[in-house]
């Protein structure tokens, strides 16, 4: 199942959770709740000890997951155990991909990911310049490789990414690291305009928290919204208050519904493409 399929008919809602946060069993339930709430694809974080692109919320999720015993091998089991029928994206840092298996290099990791049902990757510390080997392995196993476009990305770098991107392009709504904020969307329209003619779906992330955010983003022309920290916050709160798993799952599903609904509303307000 190619990632692009998630964006086929309507704006996609793509949630993120760190796999194994706060533990293996609960995390399975939470990811499944997102699917139940209308996720069109899911980004699953494989925790790395040095997550330089994450804000505090996701850093803490990563610490919880690692402390509960998450490893790359467990992650693959996790994916295999998941009962969802949407495309899955593995979000992790390059060192884990590179070290996996006997021989150094990304191929063993990609092979195993394909085996358990991963559809693509987002690797925030892997720039297009260094992506050759991973791109090749993805091609070999039929997986997608998503790149992130930032507000500051230069035209030259856009070209380099465009050559290699597949599945969707991740449009970073603002500078900085992941984390829910209120000031979403300001730089988004401009970013979307710069890649309007790319032939992959454009999903916008970084700081989207509510249905209204999602609506505004889609109204600006995005093909989908990516939401991480707002969901992780729910996991964190449940963990801290020791809430029952199904209650937390219920809250995640509810927010998922709101976000998906917002995204759908956004389509209506979208400037209709002129027919030719």
């Amino acid at each position: 199942m190619g990632l692009e399929s998630a964006f086929a008919d309507e704006p996609a809602f793509v949630p993120y959770l760190a796999a194994g946060d706060p533990n293996y069993g609960d995390s399975l339930a939470y990811v499944e709740a997102l699917a139940a709430g209308g996720a069109d694809a899911i980004e699953l974080g494989l925790p790395f000890s040095e997550p330089i692109a994450e804000g505090t919320t996701i850093q803490n999720a990563i610490v919880r997951s690692l402390e509960a015993g998450m490893t790359p091998e467990r992650f693959f089991e996790f994916v295999a155990d998941l009962d969802v029928d949407v495309p899955l994206v593995c979000m992790t840092y390059y060192n884990l991909i590179y070290q996996y298996g006997q021989a150094a290099g990304p191929r063993p990791f990609v092979a195993r990911a394909a085996e358990v049902g991963i559809d693509g990757f987002v690797v925030p510390d892997l720039p297009a310049e260094e992506a050759g080997p991973l791109r090749a392995a993805c091609d070999e196993f039929g997986l997608d490789l998503v790149f992130i476009v930032a507000p500051t990305t230069t035209a030259e770098r856009l070209d380099r990414m465009r050559e290699q991107v597949s599945g969707y392009v991740y449009v970073q709504a603002r500078l900085g690291v992941t984390g829910a904020r209120d000031d979403v969307g300001d730089a988004t329209e401009e970013s979307l305009a710069r890649i309007a003619d790319w032939d992959v779906p454009k999903a916008v992330g970084f700081g989207i928290k509510t249905g209204d955010h999602a609506e505004r983003i889609v109204a600006s022309g995005a093909d989908g919204v990516i939401v991480g920290s707002a969901l992780v916050d729910i996991v964190a709160e449940g963990y801290e208050n020791d809430d029952p798993t199904d209650e937390v799952a219920g809250r995640l599903e509810a927010l998922a519904r709101e976000l998906k609904a917002g995204a759908l509303r956004g389509t209506q307000e979208r400037p209709q493409p002129e027919r030719t």
């Binding site: 330089i52 803490n60 510390d125 990305t153």
Partner: protein
Amino acid sequence: MSIEDPKFGEYGGQFVPEALMPAIEELADAYERYVLDNEDGFMDEFRSRLADFGGRPTPLQYADQLSARYDTDIYLKREDLLHGGAHKLNNALGQVLLAKYMGKERIIAETGAGQHGTATAMAAAHLNIPCEIYMGETDIARQRPNVFRMKINGSEVVPVTVGRGTLKEAISETMREWATTVENTHYVIGSVVGPHPFPKMVRDFQAVISEEAREQAIGKTGGLPTDVVACAGGGSNTMGAFAEFVDDESVDLHAVEAGGSSLEVDEKAGVAPNSATLSTGDEGVLHGARTKLLQDSDGQIMESHSVSAGLDYAGVGPELAHLVDEGRVNPVNVDDDLALEAFHRLSQDEGIIPALETAHAFGYVEKHHDDLGDTVVINVSGRGDKDLETVIEETEKRDLDIAPDMSILQRMGGGGL
């Protein structure tokens, strides 16, 4: 447009979040223009400020007692005399000045032991630009004098509370902060690590060490030294001390890492009780570069350890990793015990109290002087004032013949230093 190769063989590169790419490209461009091409006289101003503010050139001193002890001519490159007490200022001053040439309005930096932080705070005060230093909570608690020095130089010190609150976390946090404020902010990284152009640029700022030492050695001995020895954490004093000798094939280069308490690792706990990255680490990607790392078999970064906070880092500069693979640099290590002993020996025999980092280089020469040639340059990367408390504690734990009797301090009452 940048033309410099961002790699050293297979090491190096720019493994950073996309949001940072424009910043490091801008920096690579600035590096080439100002540092390599001396545009607007940047390098002239840098060298002149290093002389007047920093106190360069530092001496190359003949060590009477050690030379007699080892029956070898030992020369000390005295970076401990640089303003701030370590080689760190060479880099900090260079980068802060570069930030000004680039029109940046704000400096951020990470620090572990606090030496790079204090150097950056001094440079930022000197050049009148606001500065924030990110430092792990644990390090703040155990490096109080350096925290105070940064604050009195007018810098903010921002506690990093994630993880164990040490250098690794502080670097990650500073990268995140940079990703958020990249347009007006320069991140002054503290060693020859991180994405291109940092490893080359920091090396070039530190290369003044070997530039001077090479000339001084020729002046004093009529020829090149047989060996250059430097401790290696990230490797900035190391590359600084080696840079101008790399092409002199007759000169052996020894990078002395922290052997810590043991070279064995505890995979389960994710702990390597050393930071002997060059000797025991594997290739991987950390903090923006491909290099040698202390990591478990999954690729998770291990907690490193050394009695000297400044060597306590799980990575190492990519150029050093490359030079080791090429056989140009000899990767060795010295454990905590030997380093402490060397600390006391240099203090007593030569009247120089070295940083604990530096003491590792001397520990190596103590143990292996028979394998060295007849003219050895040791880089005294910093002074040990910052380490007094640690040395008291660590000496008390051991039974070192060489250590002085410290009972006067107990007799006279009072708590810590």
